[in-house]
């Protein structure tokens, strides 16, 4: 008895599901017809009516239905068609605007990445260091000065040279920054860079590696009394380029925001590569932080010949 009640309940459910599906399909078809009606030009509609009248004049014709269809479609088109057409057009326009705004957002994100980058604190401290070195160690002062110029050239938007979008160029400017930080932090900062030569000419968006490195130093290593090390590695993994910045600094504060920098990298990666690129942030169990950018590997095919 109970068994049968269950089965009939199951049947009722299945029937209800079927009815709902039929309803959904009917409503979808109706809206498709309505959209068509709203958008179809009057001339085409007249031709269709004319053909309908012709068919209904034959012995098979269902003239009652034909007349009903003509009256109904005329009424709908006159009463609601205009509004619906405007709605459809507005939706299409907004899709198109979405594509345009994507381009605008990329430009904005790139500008933000470049403008926000030179931190006054970094600049003033470096200039103070150069001032001191001029008195005590002029050759070292000249070296830091050169590094600072290279860093600014790559960072300030109006100075950014064309063709800086390779991993090699990005590494060069990061090296300049790291050399300055090493001169300031001395033994508190150890740096290792491990990037295969053939990856240097591969395309890599500007100011991403730099943001990861500055984050590692600012949030991981500068606040750590004994300092630490930063490791920069790159490799190719099944057509994907993997660029990694690790530090053994103070690690994460889960209540501190991820800052403008990381969010900017994420946003630009999404606009440039969609779902094919990724920014991963990890907290290794032995401490510190690891940031990884994965994006499609685009080697420069002319690089080998040029080199």
């Amino acid at each position: 008895m109970i068994q049968r009640a269950k089965t009939s309940g199951g049947n009722a459910n299945r029937l209800l599901g079927l009815v709902r599906e039929v309803g959904d399909t009917a409503s979808a078809l109706w809206w498709r017809f309505f959209d068509w009606l709203a958008q179809v030009p009057w001339r085409k509609l007249f031709v269709i009516w004319f053909l309908l009248v012709l068919v209904s004049a034959t012995p098979f014709g269902m003239h009652k239905q034909a007349v009903a269809f003509i009256v109904m479609s005329f009424g709908l088109k006159v009463l609601a068609g205009g509004k619906r057409k405007a709605e459809i057009e507005a939706r299409e326009a907004s899709t198109q605007a979405g594509e345009e705004s994507l381009e605008r957002r990329l430009a904005e994100a790139q500008l933000a990445a470049l403008q926000a980058q030179v931190e006054p604190h970094f600049l003033f401290n470096t200039l103070a260091l150069i001032g001191q070195l001029i008195e005590t160690d002029p050759p070292q002062a000249a070296r830091i000065h050169t590094h600072l110029i290279e860093y600014l050239r790559a960072t300030l938007p109006q100075m950014r040279a064309k063709g800086s979008g390779t991993l090699g160029r990005q590494l060069d400017m990061s090296r300049a920054y790291l050399a300055i930080m090493q001169a300031r932090m001395r033994s508190r900062l150890a740096v290792s860079i491990d990037v295969p030569h053939e990856m240097m000419s591969a395309t890599f968006p500007p100011m991403m590696l730099q943001i990861l490195i500055e984050n590692a130093i600012k949030h991981g290593l500068e606040p750590k009394v004994e300092g630490g090390r930063i490791d920069i590695r790159a490799r190719v993994e099944s057509q994907m380029m993997v660029v990694e910045v690790c530090d053994d600094g103070v690690g994460f504060n889960v209540h501190a925001g991820d800052g403008v920098g990381l969010n900017n990298v994420r946003e630009r990666l999404r606009i440039l590569y969609g779902n094919r690129a990724q920014l991963l942030i990890e907290a290794p169990f032995d401490g510190g932080a690891r940031a990884t950018i994965r994006l499609p590997y685009a080697p420069d095919i002319f690089a080998a010949r040029a080199a």
Binding site: L129, Q132, A183, R184, F252, D258, P284, F285
Partner: protein
């Protein structure tokens, strides 16, 4: 004033060695009788060395690891005269001027240092001013450490293989209770975490994430539209993502004005 009164003892705290050397040599020119008794390379060391050497004057860099110059100052102000040193700190400089605290800008200019030294010489042997109030105001007002603002959870931790992934709350589209776990959905992937939806709701910024259902917390920014289905239930559509989320009856008021 006799000459022995001019023989002050000072401590220099700065995390950059070159900057300590610079201040030391400038001080030597401006005030040859001043003895530098110790140099510290972070805030903790500064406090320890000050306790050990009992200097009359401490020069404190503001940005140092361990303890910042201002935090160290709070532990030292009633024992010695303090001078802050900074290369750039717009906020602190304003506060110093309002609170009449002594400060130097890097690179330290000989002129400015001469004024500071003259002032310090008149203060030698006197009780240091009570600057606790100014220092507390300086600590509280600093944008980096505003204690008054509640601290919301900004990173979600999820174990992925042998690693602890850090997911910024800005990446999360929604959280969904999923039996024993909570599913964290981002545009690119999903993670399971042990934190319950209730814990998340308590720790996350309530302006950033809304509870729309007993088992769903959604990021407000990620909502593309709210529609009604055939049965009259409110459904939330997530931007750039296929899944629709149901709004339970108790939470429909969230979208009344929309």
């Amino acid at each position: 004033m006799n000459t022995t009164a001019l023989r002050g003892r000072a401590l220099i705290a700065d995390d950059e060695e070159a900057m300590r050397a610079q201040l030391r040599s400038r001080l030597h020119e401006a005030w040859p009788e001043l003895e530098i008794v110790a140099e510290a390379s972070n805030g903790i060391e500064a406090v320890a060395l000050a306790g050990q050497h009992q200097p009359d004057i401490v020069f404190l860099d503001i940005r140092m690891p361990g303890l910042s110059g201002i935090e160290a100052a709070r532990m030292l102000f009633n024992r010695c005269h303090l001078v802050f040193v900074t290369a750039y700190d717009q906020y602190a400089i304003e506060a110093f001027e309002q609170g009449a605290l002594d400060y130097l800008l890097k690179p330290v200019s000989a002129e400015r240092l001469k004024t500071t030294c003259a002032r310090l010489q008149t203060l030698l042997g006197k009780q240091p001013a009570n600057i606790e109030r100014q220092l507390s105001a300086l600590l509280l007002g600093r944008p980096a450490a505003s204690a008054a603002k509640p601290e919301y959870l900004r990173w979600i931790q999820a174990v992925v293989g042998n690693n602890l992934r850090m997911i910024s709350t800005r990446e999360v589209l929604f959280f969904r209770a999923d039996e024993k776990y909570t599913r964290v959905q981002t545009e690119q992937s999903e993670f399971l975490i042990r934190k319950t939806l209730k814990e998340l709701a308590d720790e996350l910024d309530p302006d950033e994430f809304w509870r729309i259902h007993r088992s769903t917390l959604v990021r407000v920014d990620a909502i593309a539209e709210v529609t009604r289905d055939l049965r009259g239930r409110q459904m939330v559509t997530i931007r750039n993502f296929g899944e629709q989320l149901e709004v339970s009856r108790g939470h429909t008021h969230l979208f009344q004005q929309m």
